[in-house]
């Protein structure tokens, strides 16, 4: 009989190797899925994982990788802080939208003035927007004990409606011939987040890297990071140690909201360019997968973000070359999280074969 035996401490080795195992298992299961859809599974997997990096047009796809990974990493870093402490911000998608609206709003307010300070102000606007949106569930949780999962998620839908209202109303391009959507910020030199569009670099990538480094220092070298980890691993011990749970909730939700807002701003001022009705691209939800795949560890998240970006770009190529449906990639990403959570069993438990003893 197979018996699960809880490990006294999570295994470090398994903790590092489960993401790799999960990716391999997803490739196998994904290959089966693609096979069921009538595509050549080996070709599909190769297209997704190999083509963007080393294929014929890799020089075009490689910078795209960073463009996709930047918002994912930025959001996932924020989420991971809360997830570590058992504070579940599921509404990053909403904070991302509000960050984009606020940031773009600041930029458009200055149009057509050209000045060096416009972009920094937009960054502040985006960060504050995302922060404020995340403060709603945070304050409700601290003050009334309301479940932050449900509130932050409901606010995603509210933010989506707000986005539609902004794209059709307040932020609509007055010279857009009545089409919904704002002015394109890429045509507005002071408000674009591109460092160099030819190389494919924008400030969001720099911000993502800075966030990774900051999160690493915070978690490993700072008292607050220690408190976050302690609360997640041993809530009772954390209470005895005098950790203030309210402060932690406000910090974790605030930080993740701010980072999601920043991701939204860099996206709207760069790769996307304008506020449109369907501006949001589910980065806020995919980032949840990224955070778990990266084991809630800053460096892990950086790698996981790049891998997830790879599936996006590879999925796009497979869509064009093989006619693989876009939704297949979404299923693929969902599978990844499944396998990861399932394999995590090996991190926390030992599997033992036990011969049945005579009672």
């Amino acid at each position: 009989m197979i018996v699960l035996e809880k490990r006294p401490q999570p295994s470090r080795g398994w903790s590092m190797s489960t993401p790799v195992l999960a990716v391999l298992a997803t490739m196998v299961a994904g290959g089966l899925l693609f096979g069921l859809l009538g595509k050549n599974p080996f070709l599909a997997i190769e297209t997704i994982f190999w083509e963007p990096l080393f294929g014929e047009f890799a020089s075009y796809y490689r910078p795209q990788l960073l463009v996709k990974a930047a918002p994912l990493v930025l959001i996932a870093i924020g989420l991971s802080l809360g997830f570590k402490a058992g504070i579940w911000n599921i509404g990053a998608e909403g904070q991302y939208i509000i960050g984009a609206i606020c940031g773009a709003g600041v930029g458009l307010a200055f149009y057509p003035l050209e000045a060096w300070y416009i972009f920094p102000l937009m960054v502040i606007g985006g960060a504050l927007g995302g922060w404020a949106w995340a403060m709603i569930p945070a304050l409700l949780k601290v003050r009334f004990g309301t479940n932050e999962i449900l509130v932050s998620l409901m606010l995603v839908y509210v933010a989506e409606k707000l986005l539609a209202s902004m794209a059709l109303g307040l932020l609509k391009n007055p010279q857009g011939f009545g089409f919904p959507g704002s002015r394109n910020l890429n045509d507005y030199a002071s408000a674009t987040s591109w460092i160099s569009q030819d190389v494919g670099l924008h400030w969001g990538m720099a911000a993502a890297l800075i966030a990774v480094i900051f999160a690493y220092i915070l978690l490993n070298r700072h008292m607050l990071g220690f408190q976050i980890r302690l609360t997640g691993e041993a809530p009772r011990a954390a209470r005895f140690a005098g950790v203030n749970p309210s402060r932690l909730i406000l910090f974790c939700l605030g930080a993740s909201g701010m980072l999601a807002g920043l991701a939204g701003l860099f996206e709207v001022a760069g790769p996307s360019g304008q506020i449109t009705i369907d501006f949001n691209a589910n980065y806020g939800f995919t980032a949840i997968i990224v955070a778990f795949l990266g084991r809630l560890h800053p460096i892990g998240i950086l790698l996981a973000g790049l891998l997830m970006a790879l599936t996006y770009i590879g999925g796009d190529i497979a869509q064009g070359n093989l006619g693989l449906p876009a939704a297949a990639v979404q299923v693929f990403q969902g599978m990844l999280l499944f396998f990861l959570l399932a394999f995590d069993l090996l991190t926390n438990y030992r599997i033992r074969l036990k011969t049945r003893e005579v009672a």
């Binding site: 709603i136 009334f144 309301t146 606010l155 707000l162 979404q330 990403q333 959570l341």
Partner: protein, 306 residues
Amino acid sequence: MDLSQINPVLLIASLMVAATPLLLATIGELVVERAGVLNLGVEGMMIVGAISGFAVAVETDSAWLGFLAAAVGGAVLSLLFVLLTQVALANQVASGLALTLFGLGLSSLMGQSYVGIKPPAMARLDIPVLSDLPVIGPILFRHDPLLYIAILIIAGVWAVLTFTRAGLILRAVGENHDAAHALGYKVVRIRIMAILFGGACAGLGGAYISLIRVPQWTEGMTAGVGWIALALVVFASWKPWRVLLGAYLFGGITVLQLNLQAAGVAIPVEYLAMSPYVVTIVVLVILSADKSRAPASLGRPFHATS
């Protein structure tokens, strides 16, 4: 603006239709939570139910078979949640999210060839005399059969939880799984059955949207109903009959804002469309003061050590 366009009788009748998906998903999740499991994958199970029900109904030209397939589809997806949380002992919050993300992708993959098709209609109840009564007729006796079945499910869940031994065991597992285990009840087995029931109910709720309420298939058409269902369980303080009250309240808000949109109220459409979500948050805040009603083992993993 012309509020006189809104007919109160039709409003109540359509409110009941709007509330039914919510009703089905919520009662399922209520049973799951009473067994001590928090399944955040309701939205995913609903949307998979919506498309599996729709596909089967279109292929077989029978709405009944569609609903059956929807229940099976929802339950099959919840089986993944069972594997993760009951077998692999994974975190329930993360597993539920995974279920929703996966379900949303899976449903749009399954539904690709079903966009823009009309499903077979389900015959409505038509009782001579009763259905023709003014006011009462359209409200009580002129709906599709599933609306009544949903109410029967609530009555059934209430009766089972309150009066039967099975209900008592289910509640015991949810309140204190260690004690239930010590008494010799199969905690994991009971929870698996509860989760499967929740999945089937969510699937039915999803198919109600795609087969009766809308009726057609569009991607992501559940639009957060599954999440509102999770909030409604809290609203109902884990009591079956209050689910009915809560679902009709939310159905009422949804229908009323749609009617106000149609009547051309001076509030922009987007802000009206926000209202169900905002109201959910407000309700959650009001009710979060009292947590004493939540099952004590809710969300805690159970691992029997021998």
